[in-house]
Symmetry: C2
Subunit: 115 residues, 2 copies
């Protein structure tokens, strides 16, 4: 059993949350997204990102437009739809609760009188 396996499982769901956040801050294209994630030390590959973006678009959470690039092929710029923004709010809460719950479990022995 490999730690990497568990890490991959931990990332599931979290990537969607992070990506929606990045896009909520302004229109970006895929390579921007990968760059921002990498900056935060979340390294993902295109084979993960593109199907994810496609899922979100098909679910109506994202919209996109083509923009010509001055240094290569055209780029697809994504933005959140209104329902995408609402969805992200809910994920904010979901994430906060999960982190809080996990902290409760892993910190329990360090706060003995908590019962």
């Amino acid at each position: 059993m490999k730690v990497q396996n568990t890490q991959v499982q931990m990332r599931k769901g979290i990537l969607e949350f992070c990506i929606l956040h990045i896009i909520s801050r302004g229109e970006v294209y895929a390579t921007d997204v990968i760059g921002e994630l990498t900056e935060a030390r979340i390294v993902i590959v295109e084979g993960t990102l593109y199907p994810l973006l496609t899922r979100l678009r098909k679910a109506g959470l994202l919209d996109y437009k083509w923009v010509e690039s001055s240094s290569g092929p055209p780029r697809k710029y994504y933005k959140l739809t209104a329902s995408g923004a609402r969805f992200l709010e809910k994920l904010n809460q979901t994430w906060s609760e999960l982190v809080e719950s996990t902290q409760m479990v892993i910190q329990k022995d360090k706060n003995a009188p908590m019962a």
Copy 2:
């Protein structure tokens, strides 16, 4: 697309981490584990827990012994093996890094001069 789906995905990997933590604090049987998770507002079902415990045991991270119960059928008490404890240390780090990375992404607009 449902928030619940994303929540389920977010839980993947994290449950394994939490369960190893609970067991690291002393021998417990399955219903204890469910109780502690529920207390932390992580509600899981047996169909999740038993295959997970089986996987961890098969991977050599857990051992168990049967203990007669005074109020029902016998119980299977689990404990961490030495490699289980080492594995959990690594997961501690993995989780911390993931939380930190996620915070970096979702807090970026709130710390504008961070670039």
